[in-house]
Symmetry: C2
Subunit: 129 residues, 2 copies
DNA sequence: TTAATTTTAGTAACTATTATTGTTATCAAT
DNA sequence: ATTGATAACAATAATAGTTACTAAAATTAA
């Protein structure tokens, strides 16, 4: 297995992901890291986001519109997607890992995990209307 | 609002979706309907799949790899995605709508719904290994 | 049938992502 | 510190999946 060498760019991407709760797109990460490393390329950002996701140091979440968001918080948690403003928000909610057992009951394969995304309208959008 | 006119192509797409449990990709639908209507274009397939999904006569499911699958079964049900063979399988499982209330407990927005996808290894892939 | 409108096929364009290429940075051993 | 091997880099090209455009054909209403 290829040893992972240090790189400032990857470090910067990680730092940014850890600092924000915005669940940025790859492009948002790119624009941000660009401020520190103006020559960084979008491809590098993609490669490192996927790498971080692969080694479990970030989470990749696909949005209903086809795009992807990234999250530096790797603690298990669930997300909410606001249909109005498109924001993705962390949910502080009780564990629902038990749904895996419910799913496994009449299934002959192995359920390892699930990913769930909640939809609706966020608090901000409710007050705005 | 524009009235919806009949089209053989759309009918054929609908019929195919209703007849299969394979959760086909747009391209698989295209290849299948092409047997009946050799001149159909991929754009027509996409347009109609999205249309059917919009009017609630089909379901669009994004897979973890970025692609989309379509399902003619619009009854509420959950899906399983096999990490090995990439198949998407219907789960016959108890209702888990209660997770919406769990999510809503400490949240100031409105949780309308959720979508959940289970991951793991399907029965076929287990026996093969 | 005629006229109005939708749908189609074919193609082009678009977006997000991944792969490629030539160059530079990192690191361990000298 | 220098070297050599390998990884990471920027830049760009390529790809995949999807959507937009347009003229011609199909559908429906009158």
């Amino acid at each position: 297995m290829a040893a992972l060498k240090y790189s400032r760019q990857r470090e910067s991407i990680k730092t940014y992901l850890s600092s924000t709760k915005e669940h940025p797109t790859a492009d948002m990460v790119y624009l941000h890291v660009k401020e520190e490393y103006p020559n960084i390329s979008l491809g590098t950002v993609y490669r490192n986001l996927n790498l971080l996701s692969d080694i479990g140091e970030a989470i990749k979440i696909n949005t209903p519109d086809g795009g992807c968001r990234f999250d530096g918080n790797v603690m298990p948690h669930n997300h909410f997607f606001c249909k109005q403003c498109g924001r993705m928000i962390d949910l502080k909610m009780d564990d629902i890992e038990h749904v895996n057992e419910i799913a496994a009951k009449n299934f002959d394969g192995i359920i390892e995990s699930h990913s769930i995304l909640f939809y609706g309208t966020c608090g901000d959008c409710i007050t705005k209307n």
